[in-house]
């Protein structure tokens, strides 16, 4: 399968990349950033919103490092999963990374790419032929959503694995752009629908993910629902952080992926201060069931995915509180 033609830019530094992007933007030229290529290239092969210019980041070595309090946006997922510092300081980031796709794709894919992963949908992730025969959708070449028929909102599903635990850890994203650098808390980064997904200027580049130091007593974990133990995107994923004090919930943080068009941070679900017991675990489950909405656009029926969100929340609460 050949790609649609595009002009390729291969900067070697962040500055060069930003310069290129700024120029392209000034020229009114649409372009895509490409990190590992594992999301962009299959979409381009399917002629999904392909652009005339691509800035490939494979040669920008400065963004691959993993530091004491940050992870470079171009760090390979497999490197993150196997990094001893990540494993000891942020074990759930390592776990979530290790659950992404399959080993050769983890060798290509990057942290930034997974975080900013395009949304997925049966009506979207198809070839041009398929979409032409079915009718084009709102997210690419059409004007109506085929999941929930209307013309306003795209219901494609966010499918990144890293976002939930990064939301729990309250990381900040650092972007570089023509106007310099800015930092955004991840918790306020994602919004909107499956097309807009978040607020980011086209010439802004995600450069690093800063992980704040957290109380060592905050225990975290991530559970992922997928049909097979490899390759698959999460069709439901729940990350939780929990610190208890004197038998009550001192700090509870819950985030979900694989449900709506963006990953969602649900905070403590209104359960701060609750007693650590089965009843609170049930309340976690009930609160998640109240909040989670899934659509029929990725594998597994939406009702089941939602139910698993609740089950995972309950299990995580019991596991992390030591009540399992």
């Amino acid at each position: 399968m050949i790609l649609p033609p595009f002009e390729l830019h291969q900067p070697t530094t962040v500055d060069e990349a930003i310069e290129l992007a700024t120029q392209l933007r000034k020229d009114g030229v649409a372009f895509d950033w490409m990190a590992g290529g594992t999301d962009v290239l299959p979409n381009y092969k399917n002629r999904l919103n392909a652009r005339d210019h691509v800035i490939a980041l494979g040669r920008v070595d400065e963004l691959t490092s993993i530091g004491k309090n940050s992870i470079g946006a171009l760090a390979r997922i497999e490197d993150v999963a196997r990094n001893s510092r990540v494993q000891s300081d942020w074990p759930t980031i390592a776990k979530a990374a290790s659950l992404i796709s399959s080993p050769p794709l983890r060798n290509l894919g990057t942290v930034g790419g997974n975080l900013l992963l395009d949304t997925r949908c049966y009506y979207f992730n198809q070839s041009e032929f398929w979409r032409d025969s079915k009718g084009y959708c709102l997210k690419a070449d059409g004007d109506v959503c085929l999941v929930v028929p209307q013309k306003e909102t795209c219901y494609a599903t966010y499918s990144g694995d890293l976002a939930p635990i990064l939301l729990v850890l309250d990381v900040e994203l650092e972007f570089r752009g023509s106007n310099g650098a800015r930092r955004v808390p991840l918790r306020s980064f994602f919004e909107y629908d499956g097309i807009r997904r978040f607020e980011k200027a086209p010439d802004e580049l995600l450069v690093r993910v800063f992980v704040p130091s957290t109380d060592k007593a905050l225990r975290t974990d991530y559970l992922k629902l997928r049909a097979r133990d490899t390759i698959e995107y999460p069709v439901m994923g729940v990350a939780m952080g929990l610190r208890t004090k004197g038998g009550t919930v001192a700090d509870l943080r819950v985030a979900v992926t694989g449900s709506e068009a963006v990953p969602l941070y649900y905070g403590d679900l209104g359960l701060g201060g609750a007693t650590v017991d089965e009843a609170t675990a049930d309340a976690v489950q009930a609160a998640l069931l109240d909040r989670i909405t899934c659509y029929r656009n990725v594998p597994f029926p939406p009702g089941y995915r939602k139910a698993m969100g609740g089950e995972f929340g309950r299990k995580l609460f019991l596991d992390l509180s030591g009540k399992a």
Partner: protein, 188 residues
Amino acid sequence: MTTASRSDSRRGDPARPDNRLLRLRVNGTVHSVAAPPHAILLDVLRDVLGLVGTKRGCDMGTCGCCNVLIDGRAVMSCLVLAHDAQGKDIQTIEGLAFDGPDMHPLSKAWAECGGSQCGFCTPGFIVTCHELLANEAAPSRTRIAEAISGNVCRCTGYKKILDAVELAAARIREAEPASAPAKSGGSK
């Protein structure tokens, strides 16, 4: 008939307007190649360089038949831009699996254990397992299964593939106990 040149008569043609020259280091040899910016590494390997041992299975990163090593790491060459692979060290099955007495322990064990039936997925598997065994001297069967989980084999049910990787690992350990990494579990 079976050797000649190109499957796609205009790929690799320097006269084609959108082609750009690039230098690819493949199996230790640097090749000057003409390819458009959007050329995929798999296509250049097969159609321009004639390295047809790397197979095209799904073209979308879901089967592993096209895996090659880039700087020692197994990646799907259907999801790599040829121009992005410049300056890197690319190894294909042709560079790993010599025949005769120098046959790679993986290839040898694969043949003995019945790791191939139709064989179409085999080059991709060997490439993947090459990376595994370079990092881990004695992976367990569970670990091997995890490492090959991005490669699809429709014939074997994977059992004889696991047998082959175990056998190859044991032979590599016997042959070069000093240079093999000491611990399993691997790190990069």
